[in-house]
């Protein structure tokens, strides 16, 4: 399984498929979505991120696919996961694909009536107001699972989806300040609806109800990372903590200085 066309490359084998009649050539292992993007065909997505494994939860990226030997039979699949194959014919806007995406957005709008991203996408499919019952407790969370997946990918798993069905939500264990969280903000940054609240300043950062002390860059004194982050990254990479506490700007300056010294020596 590949996160994007890029990580699948390098093996050399290319596959050729058509998307809405246009030819796309992508490396084997790429998904239909990768192929569509490669030739500029837009497919809406809400739960996909190039740095994460595809998940298939939002169902917005649905497309119809068929193959020669399917004798006209079409199958609806999520493009973010369906592998691109030689001879595959993809249709991104059949009547039923559009109708299903529209229903999905209509449902999401009922869940998140005030969320700009959902409103915008729904409007693109002709849904101004939801046909269904509006959520009495509006939320911005579309349950795309990106936040929990990014936290898992970092190796922290501080948050998870809890409950199932209609009561599902993203939360730290027991709804308490998550003990494992390192305050990296990755979840907040990946969230497509920006609905994970946090505060960050030179002295402290708060997310998921937990407060973190900031560590200052030993060179310039800017605060850009939490103590927990530095410790966690250092523990994983075997690299000294100071590498992570040094801010990017100072790292660049240091690097430049090293080069200057090196050329002077030479």
């Amino acid at each position: 399984m590949s996160g994007g066309a890029n990580d699948a490359g390098g093996k050399g084998t290319m596959v050729t498929l058509t998307i809405d009649g246009r030819v796309a050539k992508v490396p084997e292992g790429a998904t239909v979505l990768d192929a569509a993007r490669a030739i500029g065909v837009r497919i809406p997505t809400l739960c996909q991120h190039e740095a994460l494994e595809p998940w298939g939860g939002c169902r917005l990226c649905l497309v119809d696919v068929t193959k020669k030997d399917w004798r006209g039979w079409e199958k609806m699949v999520v493009s973010c996961m369906f592998p691109a194959e030689d001879g595959l014919a993809v249709s991104t806007a059949t009547e039923r694909v559009v109708a299903t995406r529209k229903a999905v957005l209509d449902l999401l709008l009922a869940r998140c009536p005030d969320t700009p991203l959902v409103q915008k996408l729904a409007r693109e499919y002709g849904v101004e107001r939801t046909s269904y019952r509006e959520n009495p407790e509006p939320t911005d969370c579309i349950l795309c699972g990106l936040c929990t997946r990014v936290c898992d990918a970092i190796g922290v798993s501080a948050i998870a989806t809890v409950d199932r069905g209609a009561g599902k939500e993203v939360a730290p264990p027991f709804h308490e300040a998550p003990p494992d969280c390192i305050g990296c903000l990755a979840c907040a940054e990946v969230c497509p609806t920006e609905c994970i609240p946090y505060q960050t300043s030179d002295s402290a950062r708060t997310i998921w109800g937990r407060r973190f002390e900031m560590v200052r860059c030993p060179h310039c004194g800017r605060a850009h990372i939490t103590r927990e982050q530095a410790t966690f990254y250092a523990g994983r990479g075997g690299v000294p903590e100071s590498y992570f506490t040094t801010c990017d700007a100072c790292k660049r300056t240091q690097m430049a200085r090293t080069f200057t010294t090196l050329s002077a020596v030479r």
């Binding site: 109708a99 229903a103 349950l143 069905g165």
Partner: protein, 631 residues
């Protein structure tokens, strides 16, 4: 002792049968979960004590045996006296002395404990003549109720592992798969996928490490066929799994057992240990050099964990959520390695097919649905329970033959088949031969074999709502169409039954249904609209009545229904008075009773108990309100 050749197996079986034949009499006490709940353990103990006291011991040829579920739990605890074949129902410990005196010692029957046929009120003496059993053909459940599930010798005496011996010692893996293919066996747990195709795909998948998995999660409410098989004849399941493992080349197997099935876990554990000791499992099975182990795994506790990809996640120790997959589990299943997953019943069928041959199995059933199928028959039929029938039997034969007809001889309305995401089949299709294709064409499905019979006092809108509620709670919530679609669908149904339906509701239901079918990630969401669409297909007028007339034609939706007593017909039996939970009825015995609308909660209890035709009747609440207005 280990069995390592066909001759050794024959010898073992011969001795087991000889030992059984020496039993002058056998007293079989059902100790399945249903009968245990009704106190069968105390019955078994009472027999032990009474027989001992009478000197009717094993030495003189009287044996007692605790068996698995006979499927007729409704009439349990059940006791069968063999070889006479006498069936006693609802046996209490205090009946035991009389049974021992009359039947065991003197060969006479105790009439009051015999099954009474509701059709003619006659007592039936023999097990085989009880209509509930007479019309069944048992394959997967072949030995349940006959054997002591914890005694492998008893099971072998009844041919357990004979199919395995034949498969492994006389056939090649390809021949085994060919035999399963010719038998026409299809999956008994879900979609009816051709079993041999899965096995073959897994066999030809590359790699050394492969798995076979038995799905014993059985999450459908009210279903208990897999439980009964695992509890009552665990060897049939193990035998099938070993045959499958050998055929596909897997050395590791799992049985995923629903968490609420402790007895199944115990009996399977005992059986696995015994099978290992006898050389049917473990290292060097039957002396062939083939190794295979089975691990029992307790289920994750959610309905969705029975879904193939969620089950495999759960076995991997992760959260049991379905995964979107565009490769078959036979290529990338458990731990992304080739895996065959089959239902308990499918595995149990496999051994019988190998023993009796593909032609025997394919000789039963219909063109594309071969063999037999287990069903749990519940609802408004006189005889409820677990049954196994040849495919193709008509719904009418099931409901009126085996089921004995509708309780109180009320009119039949529909039968819901296929579990929570199955559909409702109406009266006009009573002559439908039950098989995979016909049920699907009728808008329902086979599923794992649930059958809920409904009478005229059933509101089909409310039935659909019941299943929607179940599925809403059980949806894993990962994908939007299923999670949000079910929630919204349920909200519409809550309105419908409360008299808040709106024009356009049916269309909105249909739009949602289409989006869920096409867009959901797993079969739970894809099939969730079945109860909705099938009731709309056959009972659309009931929906329209709820929406446009604000009435419930079946008189079941409380918010739409009022009750009244017709004074001219009331004979003062006082039964409604006793039944009313709201004290809404006044009246004395032998006098006309009165129902007070203000206090009535429309539960319908008075209607259901009233023995006088027409004396209690229901009518739309809207009329009652209009009349109150007028006053």
């Amino acid at each position: 002792m280990r069995i390592e050749s066909a001759a050794a197996y024959e010898e073992f079986r011969r001795r087991a049968r000889e030992a059984a034949a020496a039993h002058r009499q056998e007293i079989l006490v059902c100790c399945g979960t249903g009968c245990l709940a009704n106190g069968s353990m105390r019955v078994a103990e009472a027999f032990a004590k009474e027989l001992q006291a009478r000197g009717l011991t094993a030495e003189v040829g009287t044996f007692t045996k605790r068996t698995g579920c006979h499927g007729f739990c409704q009439r349990g605890p059940l006791v069968v006296i063999q070889p006479a074949g006498i069936l006693y129902t609802q046996v209490k410990p205090r009946d035991v002395a009389e049974i021992c005196e009359k039947t065991v010692a003197n060969g006479a029957v105790v009439p009051r404990l015999l099954y009474k046929n509701p059709a003619d009120a006659k007592r039936v003496e023999h097990y085989a003549e009880v209509p509930f059993y007479a019309n069944q053909t048992r394959v997967a459940m072949r030995n349940i109720g006959k054997i002591d599930p914890t005694d492998i010798a008893d099971a072998i005496g009844h041919d357990a592992y004979a199919g395995l011996v034949k498969a492994m010692l006389e056939m090649t893996p390809e021949q085994v798969i060919g035999e399963i293919e010719r038998s026409g066996l299809r999956g008994r747990g879900g979609a009816g996928f051709v079993t041999a195709r899965k096995w073959r795909a897994c066999r030809s998948a590359g790699g050394e490490r492969k798995f076979v998995v038995c799905n014993g999660d059985e999450g459908d409410p009210g279903a208990f066929k897999d439980r009964s098989i695992m509890e009552g004849d665990p060897h049939s399941v193990i035998e099938g799994i070993v045959i499958g493992a050998w055929a596909v080349g897997a050395h590791e197997g799992f049985v995923y057992v629903r968490d609420e099935y402790p007895l199944a876990v115990v009996n399977l554990t005992v059986a696995i240990e015994q099978a290992r000791r006898h050389g049917f499992l473990g290292k060097d099975i039957l002396g062939t050099g083939f190794d295979f182990e089975i691990t029992i795994s307790r289920g994750g506790g959610a309905f969705v964990c029975g879904e193939s990809s969620a089950l495999m996640r759960s076995l991997e120790g992760k959260v049991g959520e379905p995964r979107q997959k565009y490769v078959h589990a036979t290529d990338k299943g458990l731990f992304d390695l080739p895996t065959v997953l089959n239902n308990v019943e499918t595995w149990a069928d496999a051994g019988a097919i190998l023993l009796h041959g593909a032609d025997w199995f394919a000789g039963m059933g219909t063109e594309k649905s071969k063999g037999t199928k287990a069903f749990s028959l519940v609802g408004k039929v006189k005889n409820t329970g677990l049954i196994e029938l040849p495919m193709g039997m008509t719904l009418r034969d099931i409901v009126y033959g085996i089921g004995g007809g509708i309780i109180d001889d009320r009119p039949f309305k529909a039968v819901q088949t296929g579990g929570p995401s199955g559909g409702c089949v109406p009266e006009s299709l009573l002559d439908l031969p039950v098989d995979y294709e016909r049920l699907t064409e009728a808008g329902s499905m086979m599923g794992s074999g649930g059958m809920i019979v409904m009478d005229d006092r059933t509101c089909m809108v409310d039935v659909a709502r019941y299943f929607l509620r179940f599925l809403t709670e059980e949806s894993c919530g990962k994908c939007v169409p299923c999670r949000e679609g079910l929630k919204q669908m349920l909200a519409i149904y809550d309105d419908l039954v409360a008299g808040r339906g709106k024009p356009g509701d049916i269309e909105r239901i249909e739009t949602l249904a289409a989006a869920m079918q096409l867009g959901s990630l797993c079969e739970l969401g894809k099939s969730a609209p079945n109860p909705v669409l099938s009731t709309l297909r056959y009972f659309r007028s009931e929906y329209e009545a709820h929406i446009f007339a604000r009435t419930c034609p079946a008189g079941m939706c409380r918010d739409l229904t009022s009750y009244e007593i017709v004074p001219e017909l009331c004979n003062g039996c006082h039964l409604c008075f006793k039944a009313c939970p709201a004290d809404a009825i006044t009246g004395e015995t032998k006098k006309v009773h009165t129902l007070h609308q203000e206090a009535c909660i429309s539960c319908g209890a008075c209607y259901d108990v009233c023995p006088t035709e027409g004396a209690v009747r229901f009518f739309p609440k809207s009329r009652a309100a209009a009349e109150r207005e007028a006053v």
